[in-house]
């Protein structure tokens, strides 16, 4: 009988170990997957996969960077001399235009003659830049120069200021506005939520009567249960017009509204965690402080808050985590304009909103898809840095306080 019990215990032990290791393994695999998909981006060419840019052989320009390509195809750059070429007008040629120049029959069986026709078009115009699929490149035409394609550079990704993932021929993946937008909104959300949250936590744990606490705590916890899309809708319909009228802004969807909505969403987390930490202060410490003649307020900020500091920093980290990772509410109220924020009264675009809005239609395995995974990696790195630093801070504080 005793033997049997021991075996049963052993089995439970093994099961617990296995489930623990499976969970850790799964988390590790997710991270590996995330980074593997993301870093593939830097092995991808700047020009859309399977396509290439061709110019006439007389054109002295040999290389174009993504920004130049974008400006050329947006007709912002109209002459080759702006790119170090001859003084000639740039003629844009997209692949589909070939079908309006020639009849379908002229391409022969299975488009066999298509490269030849494309070659003819390029040879005729000295200022042309053609955007063509690789399989139909007129490679044997010596009048055609194919521009070599470079890979997307890390510098352009992290330092770029333009996020245009679907522009052709060359997409721009500048994540700087997205990273700054995310941090901008989150920082102000925490600046709003932290004093409020701490105040409520102190009130609830130290000052409120038992009856008041019994009403208020479940109400606040209820806030955490509201789906984020409801907060987003509330923000869009109520807060956006309100802020716009109050501050007389041209646009209502701004970083400020995003921060307020996020602050409201982070509040329940901050309040409950911080309040629990404060209530866990041993009765003896509280009474000792009061017995020494300290007032209640002195007790709160000299004894209880320092004692609960690790719990409070945990509350802050959880709050920041919620703010940085929040998707739906932010997607609805911040306007999602990918510009580097200069003030609180401008629209911003955050990383989670970008991933949520774009991943659905990004072709699997393409550069856009990879860049969204890389955004996920960045988000992961940001939250990891925050939680590690919070841990370090709370440990140091404890040593200093001698607790």
């Amino acid at each position: 009988m005793k033997q049997l019990k021991r075996i049963a215990e052993r089995i439970v032990e093994i099961m617990l170990t296995v489930s623990g290791s499976i969970t850790s393994l799964a988390i590790l695999l997710i991270i590996v997957f995330l980074f593997k998909e993301g870093f593939g981006l830097f092995n991808s060419p700047i020009i859309e996969k399977g396509y290439a840019l061709c110019v006439n052989v007389t054109n002295p320009v040999n290389k174009l960077n993504p920004y130049q390509i974008k400006h050329i195809f947006d007709s912002d750059i109209t002459h080759w001399n702006e790119l170090g070429g001859s003084d000639e007008e740039i003629v844009l040629f997209r692949f589909d235009e070939i079908f309006s120049l020639y009849a379908d029959e002229e391409f022969g069986e299975d488009y066999a003659l298509l490269p030849e026709k494309l070659g003819e078009v390029i040879a005729q115009s000295s200022g042309i830049v053609a955007f063509l699929p690789e399989e139909y490149l007129p490679t044997d035409n010596n009048q055609v120069k194919i521009l070599p394609s470079t890979n997307i550079s890390i510098f352009d990704f992290f330092g770029g200021k333009e996020w245009m993932p679907t522009s052709t021929p060359s997409s721009l993946y500048g994540v700087l506005p997205l990273i700054l937008g995310t941090l901008w909104v989150s920082v102000f959300a925490i600046l709003i939520a932290l004093p409020l949250g701490l105040g409520v936590a102190i009130y609830l744990s130290e000052l409120a009567s038992e009856r008041m606490r019994k009403i208020m705590k479940p109400t606040i916890e209820l806030l955490a249960g509201i789906p984020s899309v409801v907060y987003g809708f509330f923000g869009l319909v109520v807060l956006v017009p309100l802020i716009q009228k109050m501050l007389n802004l041209p646009v209502g969807e701004t970083a400020l509204v995003g921060s307020i909505v996020l602050a409201i969403m982070a509040l329940p987390t901050i309040i409950t965690v911080a309040e629990d930490a404060m209530r866990n202060t041993p009765r003896a410490m509280r009474e000792a402080s009061l017995a020494l003649g300290a007032t209640q307020w002195q007790t709160i900020y000299k004894v209880i808050v320092p004692y609960a500091s690790s719990g409070i920093s945990a509350a802050v980290v959880l709050g920041i985590g919620r703010a940085i990772g929040e998707t739906m509410a932010v997607l609805m109220v911040t306007g999602n304009a990918a510009v580097i924020p200069h003030s609180l009264f401008e629209p911003v675009r955050t990383i989670p909103a970008t991933i949520a809005a774009e991943l659905g239609e990004a072709p699997a395995g393409g550069t856009h898809y990879q860049s969204l995974f890389l955004l996920g990696c960045i988000l992961f790195a940001i939250t990891m840095i925050i939680s590690i630093s919070a841990e370090v801070i709370s440990k140091r504080k404890h040593k200093g306080a001698g607790v």
Binding site: M164, P250, E253, L331, G335, N336
Partner: protein
Amino acid sequence: MKKTFLALVIMMSALIGVQAQKIKGSDTMLPLSQKEAESFMKANPSQVVTVTGGGSGVGISALLEGTTDLAQLSRKIKFDERKKLQEKGKSVKEVIAAYDALAVVVHPANKVKNLTREQLEGIFTGKIKNWKEVGGDDLKIIPYSRETSSGTYEFFKESVLKNKNYMNGIMSMPATGAIVQSISQTKGAIGYIGLAYVNKDVKSIHVSYDSGKTYTEPSMANAKSGVYPIVRPLYYYYEAKSESKVKSFIDYILSNAGQKIVSDNGYIPVK
């Protein structure tokens, strides 16, 4: 009640092994396809049609993998998609089921009534920044766009912006409803939405594609007669092999009853 019945029919057919027709693709066409499928199944109780969204690109790749019978697209099939299908030995057929007109809308208090395509291009690419440049008040222009994933975004870029990129940092909203909401509460706003979404909270702009000679109001009648320029076809694609399987549904959409559903939902019928 209707839903439970529908679910029951689907389950029953799965049990007895009736092959259902599957439609997948554009989210724009999702409501239309669903309504069509519902009344089609009511008319032909032996048939089962299931409709799912995911985006135009998703529809084509499902057709490529053979996991759907019909792909619904809010844009024409791209050259490389057709090429990929050819490589797999599949030839596809195309049916235009309806047309969708895009209206350019502004805040109701905006004085501006007419805009040319060139002016719209300037506004959405960020070259025209103030309403006074196009005959309005001295007010900053705030252009709203759809997210990059939407077929509407692509079509507007192709038709109005002539393939140029939208301005850097354009406001982009996740849904048409959100655009209507934002424009109705922002004085300097301008955006584009499907004709079916135009309501009294926003004012639609008369558009000219002949540099200002004639301005056309986005209305059902003008879109139908082909005078209004920003109109896109909505397509169904299917494999030539499986024509017999999907024929009855396609015929139903193109029939009078099917086309009535098209116009009831704010789209323009093909006939």
